[in-house]
């Protein structure tokens, strides 16, 4: 499963994501689902604790698109066990965003476009994100600062698994295309 890092005019993250999505879909040749952050409100509002939020989302997946991991496995691989009984609204901003991303990446999508995932996340959270993104479908990350992802080096051990080489893409406002390796 490929991971792409898309360099684009940063304005598209805030204002042009619908057209960017179409260009990414044209490049990948498949439908793309979009993750768009809503900092610090990444919460359904229908649950109190992290445990309830995860349970709510996992039990409400469509029947034809079951979650990639069920509750216990999800909690384990996303390193969330220590936070299950905390109120979602009491999580730090970074952890709340990470929880929202984890739930998004637990959906069985063929391709996803992730906008501004790196703001507020530490390197440790971003490494987990890349490892999990590599497990299913293709992921396209579009960041204000792509270097925050590109500078990370994969682990390659059991405790710090690797992710595939990140493939650079470029968007010129009309078409998304690959970037030739120098």
């Amino acid at each position: 499963m490929a991971i792409y890092v898309l360099t684009a005019n940063p304005n598209v993250i805030d204002f042009g994501h619908a057209s960017l999505r179409a260009r990414v879909e044209a490049h990948l040749g498949t439908v793309v689902d979009v993750y768009r952050p809503h900092p610090f409100v990444e919460h359904s509002g229908f649950s109190e604790t992290v445990r309830e939020e995860i349970g709510l989302v996992l039990t409400n997946h469509p029947a034809d698109a079951p979650p990639l991991r069920t509750f216990d496995a999800f909690v384990e691989v996303w390193d969330l066990s220590a936070h299950l009984d905390r109120r979602v609204l009491d999580l730090s901003g970074g952890w709340r965003k990470y929880l929202g991303l984890a739930l998004f990446l637990n959906r069985p999508l063929r391709a996803r476009l992730l906008l501004d995932t790196t703001s507020h996340l530490s390197d440790a959270r971003m490494r987990t994100l890349l490892v999990r993104a590599a497990e299913h479908g293709n992921s396209v990350f579009c960041e204000y600062d792509p270097q925050l992802l590109l500078r990370l080096t994969p682990g390659g051990t059991e405790s710090a698994p690797a992710w595939p080489a990140l493939t650079p893409l470029s968007d010129d406002g009309a078409i998304v295309s690959g970037v030739e390796a120098r």
């Binding site: 610090f40 220590a82 730090s92 970074g94 530490s122 440790a124 204000y144």
Partner: protein, 209 residues
């Protein structure tokens, strides 16, 4: 005398274990500090305490020798301001010109000069603030709360896109101005950035999540 002094500051949410435990440090006038910590380490909590938005469970914070807890709320912005990660939600005027005018009125400080405006790389001043990108909103907050309000202590909770030239330029300009004004500036982030600070503070508080 130090300008900002934290003495044995601890903080806990409700009955949870303390997020911050026995934090002590001093910063002199003109200092700038990069506050580094992982997600959930207590960076934002530290900022709320220094910004006077929460009271330490134990310990004390003083600014220029004055206990922060005794500063009346209406006088607090001249002493200390916490720039939260969602402070852009406070934009409510129709244009950048209006937001700047409001900050000038509220702070009683002079309007920013052309060099200030240029350093923050903002779009045309008749733009609606809600039409700014996230990095542009961050720069506008720096202009309003840092450059115009000019509190003695400023705590900026994270930088958006730190590798982007306009972001670095705005921050560098603000740090330079505030150094000359003999104020203290703290920026919390998860990692080092390519902007020079006079000191680094590492936060390793209880992993609150």
């Amino acid at each position: 005398m130090s300008l900002l002094h934290l003495d044995g500051v601890s903080f806990r949410y409700g009955t949870d274990a303390p997020v911050l435990r026995d934090v002590s440090f001093e910063l002199d006038a003109g200092a700038s500090a990069l506050v580094i910590g992982d997600n959930g380490s207590g960076k934002s909590t530290l900022g709320r305490l220094i910004g006077g938005l929460a009271q330490p469970s134990t310990g004390a914070i003083t600014i220029a020798g004055e206990p922060l807890a005794r500063v009346p709320t209406r006088q607090r912005p001249s002493r200390t301001i916490y720039v939260s990660q969602v402070s852009y939600l406070q934009f409510f005027r129709a244009t950048l010109t209006d937001e700047i005018a409001l900050a000038v009125h509220q702070s009683g400080r002079p309007a920013p000069g052309a060099d200030d405006l240029a350093a923050f790389s903002l779009p045309p001043l008749d733009t609606n603030p809600r039409d700014l990108t996230y990095p542009e909103m961050w720069r506008l907050q720096l202009l309003l709360l840092g450059a115009i309000f000019r509190p003695r202590v400023l705590y900026i909770d994270e930088i958006v896109a730190p590798g982007v030239t306009e972001q670095q330029q705005a921050l560098q300009h603000l740090l330079s101005r505030r150094h000359a004004q003999q104020t203290v500036t703290l920026l919390a982030y998860q990692r080092e950035i390519d902007v020079a600070f006079t000191t680094t503070i590492t936060v390793t508080g209880n992993r609150r999540g």
